[in-house]
C-alpha cells in the first residue's frame, strides 16, 4: 500500500497527469523501484510495456564513472507515466531516450529528475512525441547541478509532433544550477509534419500515408539512436512503427 498522499494538480510533476486514473491505482502502487549502478559499470533498462497500473517509478543511483541508459516507449495506454529520479556520481552518465505515441484521449508522460551531485557527470535526454486525436504527451525534466558539481554536461532535447489540432504537448524543462563551470543545453519544439516535405515526397510517387510513415519513423528514431545493441534498437523501432500505424 502506498503511504504517500495522492498527488494533486498543485504538485508540479503531476500537473498534466490524468489524476482520476492515478487515483484508481494509487492505493496499490508500490514505492519507486530502487536501482543501484555500481562504480564503473554500465546498466541498461528498456521499457516497452507499462505495468497494469500504467505507472513506473525508478530511483537510480549511478556511482562514479558508471553509466545508466533508460530507453522507453509509451503507447497504447489511457494513462501512462514513467518517472525517474537519478543521482549521478563523479564522471557518471545518464542517457534517456523516450518516445511517446498517443492517440484518442490518452495521457502519457515522462518525468525525470536528474541530480548532478558530483563533478564531471553528464546526462543526455532525448524525448520524441507523436500525438494524435485529443491526446496529451508531456515531458517534465528537472536537472539539478550541485554547487561543487563542476564540469557537468547536461543536455535535453524534446520534440513533439502534433498530428491533429486537438492534441496537446507539454515540455517543461527545469534547471537548477548552483555550479558555475557547467554546460546545460535544452531545447523544445512543437510542430506538425512539414507540408513541403510531404509534397516533395508525393512528387516522387509516395502516397501520403507512406510519406507520413517515413517521416514519423525518422522522427521517433532519434529517441532510440543511443541504444547500443542493434537488435534491441530494431525491436524498439519495430514496436514504435506498429504503434505509429495505429495513430492516424
Amino acid at each position: 500500500m502506498n503511504a504517500i498522499t495522492l498527488p494533486t494538480r498543485r504538485d508540479e510533476s503531476w500537473r498534466y497527469a490524468d489524476l482520476n486514473a492515478v487515483a484508481r491505482v494509487w492505493q496499490d502502487l508500490g514505492p519507486a523501484q530502487t536501482l543501484h549502478v555500481p562504480e564503473g559499470s554500465h546498466e541498461r533498462l528498456r521499457v516497452g510495456n507499462l505495468p497494469d497500473s500504467g505507472i513506473l517509478r525508478y530511483d537510480v543511483t549511478v556511482e562514479a564513472n558508471a553509466r545508466f541508459d533508460l530507453h522507453c516507449l509509451l503507447e497504447g495506454r489511457d494513462y501512462g507515466r514513467i518517472e525517474i529520479a537519478v543521482k549521478l556520481g563523479d564522471g557518471a552518465h545518464f542517457e534517456l531516450g523516450g518516445a511517446i505515441l498517443a492517440k484518442d484521449n490518452q495521457v502519457l508522460e515522462i518525468v525525470t529528475d536528474v541530480e548532478h551531485v558530483e563533478p564531471n557527470g553528464s546526462s543526455n535526454q532525448t524525448v520524441r512525441s507523436v500525438l494524435a486525436g485529443t491526446s496529451t504527451g508531456s515531458f517534465l525534466g528537472k536537472i539539478g547541478v550541485a554547487r561543487h558539481a563542476q564540469k557537468t554536461d547536461a543536455a535535453q532535447s524534446v520534440k513533439s509532433m502534433l498530428l491533429h489540432r486537438g492534441a496537446t504537448a507539454n515540455a517543461v524543462p527545469q534547471l537548477e544550477i548552483f555550479a558555475d563551470d557547467v554546460k546545460c543545453a535544452h531545447g523544445a519544439t512543437v510542430g506538425e509534419l512539414d507540408a513541403q516535405a510531404l509534397f516533395y515526397m508525393a512528387t516522387r510517387g509516395l502516397p501520403p500515408e507512406v510519406a507520413r510513415r517515413l517521416m514519423l519513423q525518422a522522427f521517433i528514431a532519434d529517441a532510440f539512436v543511443s541504444i547500443d545493441d542493434d537488435g534491441t534498437r530494431e525491436a524498439m523501432e519495430a514496436k514504435a512503427q506498429v504503434a505509429l500505424g495505429e495513430l492516424s
Binding site: 512539414d194 507540408a195 513541403q196 516535405a197 509534397f199 516533395y200 515526397m201 508525393a202 512528387t203 516522387r204 510517387g205 509516395l206 502516397p207 501520403p208 507512406v210 517515413l214 517521416m215 519513423q217 525518422a218 522522427f219 528514431a221 532519434d222
Partner: protein, 249 residues
Amino acid sequence: MLKINNLHASIGGTEILKGLSLKINAGEIHAIMGPNGAGKSTLGYVLGGRPGYEVTEGSATFEGKDLLAMDPHARAAAGLFLGFQYPVEIAGVSNVQFLREAVNAQRGVRGEAPLSGGEFLKAAREKAALLKMDMEMMKRAVNVGFSGGEKKRNEMVQMGLIDPKLAILDETDSGLDIDALRTVGDGINAIMRKADKAVLLITHYQRLLEIVVPDFVHVLADGRIVKTGGPELAVQLETDGYEAIAEAA
C-alpha cells in the same frame, strides 16, 4: 503527351497564370524562359499538384487523362516528374530508403513487382555514377547537408531511378558550377532524350540549353506564353533581354 489549355491559377487569391496554353509531344524538349515572377515555378507546382495552388480555369491533360484531378502521388505514378528549384531536406530518411519506397510505390500502381533491395541498389549505383554522385551520399538523409549542386544532382539521380515519361525541371541549372552543369545536362540527355519521353525545362539562362538543346523555346511573361520559337530564341533572349522580346510580342 501534355496538353495545357487556357490555364489560370492563383495562390492565395492572386492570379499568377493567366491563360497559359502549351502542347508537348513525346520526343520533344521544351524550354520555358522568362523573368522573375512570370509564373514559371507556379506552372511547375500547378502541374505537380502542390497544395495551395488553385486552378480557376482551363485544363491540363497528361496522356489524355485529366492531370488536375489527380493527387500529386498519382501524377508521379502516371509518369510525371517534378524537379525542384530548391529540393527539400528530409531529416532522418535516407536517400536509398526514400527512393526505394518511391520507386516501388510507383511500380505497385502500375502493377509491376517491387524491386528487391539488391536490384534497387544496382540501379541506384548506375544512376549515381551517371551523375557523378558518391554512393555514400545516397545512404545519407535526403538532401540534408548537401550543397546546392549536390541537391540538383540528387534530383537527377532520382529522375533516373524513377524513369518518368515527362520531366518538368524547375531551374535545375541554378546554383551549378560549370562542371556540374555539364554533368546534369548530360544526365538529362541520357535519361530523358528518348522518343517516348519529353522534358519541360524551366530556366532563366541559356547555358543549360547549350547542352540540352530544346526543340522549342517559350517566353513566359505575366502568366502566359508570349512568344515561341526554336533554340535561337534563347540566344536572342540572352542578348536582348526579356523585356525587349515581351514588348515586341
